[in-house]
């Protein structure tokens, strides 16, 4: 039997769930079709930064979009907590990127300067801090001799990505969203008549809907062409280590190390081209740990409990892609590698745009059309 929905969202990770959450709040009757536990699921393997730092080099629109999400995050986290009782552990703490040695410090200074100049007004408000500043910011931490300073982003923070996904799914249930795990989509077919909507087919069921959102990370690839999309998504492997639980160290989150609310330290990460292989390697572990110890030497004595690997969903310029199919209006595609950071803006501005059927000026720059302009290609 064919079932109906106002919108079918394909993908129940943090991207699809945030969009579905926003759509449901606006009154849409939403069905989410998700894969099972064996899916390549970036939402369950990531580091948990809510991060503006370094986003949008060469594409200031991405800087502004991310800044907007960091502005929305506190309220988003409060809302999820109030609706579900689940604490996402979001803290807008500010965040760091450590610089070891003069070369790194100089390079980071230059990067901040360049990114600031690319935008008409500065969305980042990042600044360089020196070793003395770091010691004042984190009086309980002893830094390695090579730590000359760091770049500091006041809008950055961190969150438990697992709690976030759990909170979103719980909120979706409360909103009456029809969430279906183990429902891999085999095919999405536009109706024969223009404006006739779409048929979404799984192994056992068919859904008829006027709107469909492809938000399935790597799972978008086999579904997009019949809908008139042609985007390229790369897999990039990242490995992360987790340590035993430690007493709170008063550590600001950084892109290589953060302390979770539970007390564990996460140490990361790598950027590897390994296809769809999610194995961990001792070499990556050693290099991550080596750098972490150069930053905070006392980490040498901390026990590592586990290492895991996940696959980022990357576009060629690392910025998100959002677009509506020109050939089949009503079909939307959303993909990014910062689903956690962008969850707040996906649940509001992006959901609004999809609900209203119009991706506005703030979202237009993210159309994959930009790759045809060689300036953006890599």
């Amino acid at each position: 039997m064919t079932q109906t929905a106002d919108t079918v969202v394909i993908g129940g990770g943090v991207v699809g769930s945030a969009i579905a959450y926003g759509l449901a709040k606006r009154g849409a009757r939403v069905t989410i079709l998700d894969e099972g536990d064996d899916a390549i699921r970036a939402s369950r393997v990531n580091f948990g930064l809510v991060w503006l730092h370094g986003k949008g080099d060469g594409m200031p629109a991405y800087g502004f979009w991310t800044r907007r999400s960091t502005e929305l995050w506190p309220r988003f986290a409060d809302e999820l907590k109030a609706e579900t009782g689940i604490d996402t552990h979001y803290v807008k703490s500010g965040g760091l990127s450590y610089c070891l040695g003069e070369t790194e410090y100089a390079r980071e200074t230059e990067t901040l300067q360049r990114m600031r100049e690319q935008a008409e007004r500065d969305p980042y408000e990042t600044r360089m801090v020196d070793r003395g500043d770091l010691m004042r910011m984190m009086p309980g931490v002893t830094f390695g001799a090579e730590v000359l300073g760091a770049s500091y982003g006041p809008h950055d923070g961190h969150v438990s990505p697992l709690n976030l996904l759990h909170a979103l799914h719980t909120a979706l249930m409360r909103l009456g969203v029809d969430y279906r795990p183990g429902s891999s989509v085999l095919e999405v077919t536009p109706a024969a008549t223009a404006g006739g909507g779409f048929e979404v087919r799984t192994a056992n069921e068919t859904f008829s809907t006027p709107k469909v959102v492809l938000a399935a990370g790597h799972g978008i690839m086999p579904l997009m062409r019949p809908l008139g999309f042609e985007v390229e998504i790369l897999a990039e492997r990242g490995q992360i280590m987790v340590t035993e639980r430690m007493a709170p160290m008063g550590l600001l989150p950084a892109n290589g190390v953060r302390q979770t609310a539970e007390g564990t330290l996460l140490i990361g990460t790598t950027n590897e081209d390994a296809g769809y292989d999610v194995s961990t390697t001792p070499q990556a572990g050693a290099s991550m740990v080596r750098r972490a110890i150069r930053v905070i030497p006392a980490l040498a004595h901390v026990r590592v409990v586990r290492t895991w690997a996940g696959l980022r969903t990357l576009t060629k310029d690392e910025s998100p892609i959002y677009e509506e199919s020109a050939r089949y209006p009503g079909a939307f595609l959303a993909t990014c590698h910062s689903g956690v950071t962008l969850a707040a803006v996906h649940a509001t501005d992006l959901a609004d745009a999809i609900y209203n059927g119009k991706l506005g000026a703030d979202i237009e720059p993210f159309h994959s059309q930009r790759f045809l302009d060689t300036k953006h290609g890599r």
Binding site: M246, G263, V302
Partner: protein, 90 residues
């Protein structure tokens, strides 16, 4: 063949145990009851699986925190101490 008897210190008290025993076994023989407090709930915990799987037996051994006491063989004079709450980085 009976193993040699040696002396270790469990929370400062001398205990004579078999040289083949684990530190967790020594703690149990010393009768201290619980061997750590959970860093999250503060609950009392004690060795459970005795084969390196459950991580319930984490103790401070010769000054090193978070060691799996069931996987450490005693040595003469070893100091085996209860671990209280989360480890502090020093």
């Amino acid at each position: 063949m009976a193993a040699e008897r040696i002396t270790v210190y469990v929370d400062g008290a001398a205990v004579t145990v078999s040289a083949n025993d684990s530190a967790a076994s020594a703690a149990l023989q010393a009768g201290i009851g619980y061997t750590r407090l959970s860093p999250i709930t503060g609950e009392k915990r004690a060795p459970y699986c005795m084969m390196g799987m459950c991580f319930e037996c984490l103790m401070v051994i010769d000054g090193v925190p978070s060691r799996q006491a069931c996987m450490v063989t005693v040595r003469p004079g070893m100091r085996i101490e209860r671990q209280t709450g989360a480890r502090v980085l020093s």
